[in-house]
Symmetry: C2
Subunit: 704 residues, 2 copies
């Protein structure tokens, strides 16, 4: 297993992460972004009389910063300590669910990014404060037990400009970059601040003092007495003050608990035991999960990436606002991600899903028209693709992504987003919050009406594009895939998602005492239309039901997840009311999962379409779940092995990446993506099992 | 004359600038910094059926941003307009005092950065609001008079993420980067917002709409009807909200006048006429100044750089706080710059000098010890080198720069800073604010005592280093020059500065009714000690009076500027009380200004030391002033020509640079420096002429 890939270490909801893991590329804090800043991270130790061992996380040679000041050398020779750059292959690494551990000889570094259930604002301030504090922990350990001289270790970051002792009195030691981020330790025996242009020289060399305030690298070092093992616990904290977003003005929710970086770091260090135990609980849970090592890695890596994209804000009127940002694209609450990320959120913080759905209703819903030839007809309710981009909210009813007059990437996803809101709302409402569902019954009925009106010929499948596309055509979430998954009209993937939406609506409306029959009848039509397209000679349903692509696509089965998770097992059974659809999809899947069809012939990994090497891991994980849980397939370890390789090798320079080339994992798009947490479906799902049959609805307050 | 060099276009006191001018390197907004962000700046026009003419201010090829979203092309061919990249040599450029004009064929771009007198806070809010509004203007003009089809022009910036119309209603058109910076126009016929990955395609191609919210480039375009000349006026504004600094918490002063970016941009556009006239006044003033074109350029370029480094803040208690940042090094109020920049500040806003001097007394003064062998003796008052770095204030009594145990760069400048505070205080007090001087008489006397105690052998020249240097030695502002100007002890440059400090103290103390005789007597000793070191055989005074360098240095004459500007003409006269010193310095200067001594044999420019090619333009300008005004030398146009070449060619990639290699102008340090405004001394100095003889002291209130 390679050890060189970037991982994000992020607190929950802070849209900030500490990035590390690729050799020779540095890392550091990313704020309101997920791209690594590629700054040097100085992790080093020295034992006995050996040279200083510097881990391979520098992005530039040591100590160059000073040169800008020194056109002429000052003629004073400075002693520099002997340094050894540790080659990456000497490191052992283990990424677990809430930790990332690096070992080299007597030295160990652990980065802890604990996570767990998060209470809704207003219900438990103490628990919420712990959950939203924008801090992660680093734990360094150095075994100096066999030595007769002191040893030292250092953790320092490029980009700082002040020692923390200036503002924290004696309470904190460390270094910070302005008011934005920093690394801190509590004072203790052998703990010292270091800041310099050449932080290795300052920590391990003979020059004093160790703090030179012009130096742009700094952190904390610990001297470990001979014969002892030293341990240094660090808080890595961030603070983004003030109004963060535009158009819809918000601040970070945590600014209500903490008034500056120093308070964040202090709180982090005061609560080390809590965070340490929470991380250990998660790590142990994953280790004991029964998942293969490969799947454990995929879920852990995905989790780190998801957390890095999360952002809990608060509006000017005091209402909290939840955002998951879209990886490298930084779009706000992209609805085709929400529908897949709710598998995670229903486990740990279902109320955030409700926040997103409510904000879509409040601000990003619209009444559409559809195109019928030259005619424009009423299209009913739908939702935008997203709510904005890079901390900028778009005006009501407009997304940052969708543009008119296009047939491909950047066109409108009106129909797909209608199914996504419908599926998300019914999932959230039925599994977590029945009273929310009751309040939204009108919206659910409007969704049903809109689904129906877009099927102008009554065959159960969407055939009319939103008038917003003007001279273009609607697309799906698979915007950069080829014709097998890109276009919306007649798309098999979207047809099954339509069917799933109707099945879920039938369930919800019936439970709410409304007429569910219209939904059921349309679901039947949709199922029949899909089955009708099954090609017995080829053994699968072509990607576009109305022609245009006869690719075989895996996402045909994707949407079975929703009725299945709602506990509607008969709807996904070959013996149930939609038995012929399920049978067709079982046969479709069997055809798909052959080498050269949707198994990549080179790598052995899953690919979404037989006609494209552009494959999307978050969707593969979801389809794996359906294949195994609905159709009873056994996991194929060779496939998971390929997927791990894609994440580690191909996507190494960026961090968790969704769209990769199926031959080798080369990143094709959607880098640093949150959606990969669909892999959480591989774990037991008590939230679905129990809640699906819950009689008493519970309700989480949505305001502070 | 080359046209390719970066210039800063900055409002006063906003520590923010719009950077432009180097071909192929882009530019853009620098906030709390002066380095160009190297982002593409899209300035383009099209007339008739010709291709779009794109000015050479792109830092990357057009339209690549979209690729991250499109692993597979969508198959839709997009028409792209024919584009021509304008070669730099086709452009005409004229940098004036408050403007920077580029011409290409029928197209003209002017960037206006007007400046003038600034009233102290609390005296004239309306004038202050105009002065501190963080906005500069761009004016585009396109002559479409001879055409029968409409023409278009575009000004757009990389790095934006939102159209301004979203938040400004219909009042503004343009694009912004979050809440931080933006470009805006008032709505009008033919004015349109543009935002796209490929902003040239969006403005000049056929695709619509012109605003795609994911696109990271955006701005404003104007369509000019056939037969007309079109003019587009843009506000380029910034907004840095909230607490900006650490340790000593401050906000930008302008945040009291404007609550967000939109208000800044609106105010800028509402007051275009005021700004336009102010810029025209300054431009005209320089054109009519009688300075050579070369000197006009040097002063204009320096002014642009100075403004970019200025920062008016307000403390939590409401008191304003003035900062000039130190170019690429970003140090706060470096005192050895203050003493040279006050020539500028006394002209336009003398109260800022008082703010700096007061903050030094309040927070960055300390009582020193000096080293005498192994002994530590009382050293008296001195001041730190600076107040911090990159928006981080250091704790009281500590600078960001000074470090112990060094003999060269980064050592302490205790003695030099003592002279700098003394000179600045007497200059400010005597020329601008006699009552301030009265209030500070105790500090002036403490400075005198400290100057005296550091001359342990009573010969008039400092010979004892501050104990803060520990095992190191004090240095001068010429920290990266060689032994001729680096060390403090026995340094000729510093000896003359000591003499000047004593002369100014004598004047101030006498006027205040105190005993000035001690200062006068010590000045006499200092003068004698310097004269004694004159080497008649060589015709100059060696750089180090106590031995160690026999270089010939130009800054020997530098400090004559202060008594001269105070109107103490007899003190700088060969017939006056220090006549033998002035005679020695005249002969010194004559020797220095020979090729191969302090005239660079290759380039013809001035170099500060005969033994170093590291020369500092701000100090050259100051020495030129002294050489011409005190010693009556005629300006040598060939020298100024060399200095212009250094600024334009050698320092092109950075902007105004202080330390350059005297052979060719290659930047050696102090890039993007504010101190180059010493060149303002070439202009008439009514602030010195009138104020030096003023009887009634006037006082500017220092608090709002």
């Amino acid at each position: 297993m390679t050890t060189a890939y970037l991982s994000h270490h992020a607190p929950w909801g802070a849209y900030a992460s500490f990035v590390l893991g690729e050799f020779g590329k540095g890392g550091g804090f990313a704020l309101s972004d997920v791209h690594s800043p590629d700054r040097s991270v100085y992790i080093a130790y020295r034992t006995g009389r050996a040279p200083v061992q510097v881990l391979p996380f520098l992005s530039a040679p040591l100590g160059l910063g000073e040169l800008a000041y020194q056109a002429n050398a000052d003629g004073v020779a400075r002693s520099t300590p002997a340094v050894r750059s540790v080659p990456g292959e000497e490191l052992d690494r283990q990424l677990l669910w809430a930790s990332d551990e690096w070992r080299h000889g007597p030295f160990r570094l652990r980065l802890l990014s604990p996570f767990g259930e998060v209470p809704a604002p207003g219900t438990d301030d103490d628990a919420l404060r712990l959950a939203v504090c924008p801090v992660v922990l680093a734990e360094l350990e150095l075994d100096n037990g066999d030595s007769d001289v002191p040893a030292e270790m250092l953790f320092a970051l490029e980009g700082v400009n002040r020692p923390l002792s200036d503002t924290a009195g004696g309470a904190l030691l460390g270094a910070a970059a302005g008011r934005s981020w920093g690394v801190a330790a509590l004072p203790g025996a052998g703990v010292e601040e270091v800041q310099d242009f050449d932080v290795i020289g300052a920590a391990f060399g003979e020059r004093r003092p160790r703090v030179r305030r012009l130096g742009n690298a700094g952190g904390v070092m610990l001297t470990v007495p001979a014969g002892e093992t030293g341990r240094l616990v660090l808080a890595l904290g961030t603070y983004q003050a003030g109004t963060i977003t535009s158009s819809l003005n918000t601040r970070f929710f945590y600014t209500g608990f903490f008034s500056n970086l120093e308070e964040v770091l202090t709180f982090g260090l005061e609560n080390v035991r809590h965070y340490w135990e929470l991380a250990a609980t998660r790590d142990e849970e994953l280790l004991q999960s029964g998942l293969s090592q490969d799947r454990q890695f995929l879920l852990a890596h995905a989790t780190h990436g998801y957390l890095a994209n999360t952002q809990l804000l608060v509006r000017e009127d005091g209402r909290p606002l939840w955002v998951v940002n879209e990886g490298e694209y930084r779009m706000i609450n992209t609805l085709d991600l929400t529908v897949d990320q709710l598998f995670w959120e229903l486990r740990y913080h279902p109320w955030t899903t409700a926040h997103v759905l409510d904000l879509f209703v409040e601000r990003y819903a619209f009444t559409d028209e559809i195109k019928c030839g030259e005619e424009r007809l009423p299209g009913g309710l739908s939702f935008t693709h997203d709510m904005g981009v890079s901390n900028v909210f778009t005006p009501p009813g407009i997304s940052s992504y969708e543009t008119e007059n296009l047939d491909g990437c950047f066109s409108h996803m009106t129909f797909e987003q209608l199914t996504n809101w419908t599926l998300s709302a019914t999932m959230y409402g039925l599994l977590a919050d029945r009273s929310w569902l009751e309040e939204h019954v009108g919206t659910l009925e409007a969704c049903l009406a809109s689904l129906l009106v877009r099927d102008t010929d009554g065959d159960g499948v969407m055939d009319a594009d939103s008038a917003r596309t003007k001279n273009g055509a609607e697309i799906t979430t698979y915007d950069s895939l080829d014709a097998s998954l890109g276009p919306a009209r007649g798309n098999l993937y979207l047809a099954v998602k339509t069917w799933a939406s109707l099945v879920c609506l039938h369930q919800a409306l019936t439970l709410l005492g409304r007429d569910g029959e219209t939904a059921r009848a349309q679901a039947q039509r949709t199922a029949e239309r899909i089955v009708q397209a099954f090609d017995p000679a080829r053994g699968y349903i072509p990607a576009l039901l109305f022609g245009g692509s006869d690719a075989c696509i895996l996402p045909a089965i994707e949407a079975l997840a929703y009725p299945f998770l709602l506990g509607l097992r008969e709807t996904v059974s070959e013996q149930g009311p939609y038995g012929s659809l399920i049978t067709a999809l079982r046969r479709h899947l069997a055809t798909a999962l052959q080498p050269g069809v949707c198994l990549d012939a080179t790598s052995g990994g899953w690919k979404l379409s037989s006609t494209s090497v552009n494959t999307w891991l978050s969707k593969i994980f979801l389809c794996q779940f359906v294949a195994e849980e609905v159709f009873g397939l056994q996991p194929n370890p060779r496939c998971d092995e390929a997927h791990v390789r894609w994440q580690q090798v191909g996507s190494a320079p960026h961090g968790p990446t969704d769209q990769v080339r199926s031959t080798d994992g080369h990143a094709l798009g959607s880098r640093l993506y949150p959606r990969l947490v669909t892999s959480v479906l591989w774990l037991p799902r008590p939230w679905a099992e129990q809640a699906a049959t819950r009689q008493t609805p519970f309700r989480v307050p949505l305001t502070t």
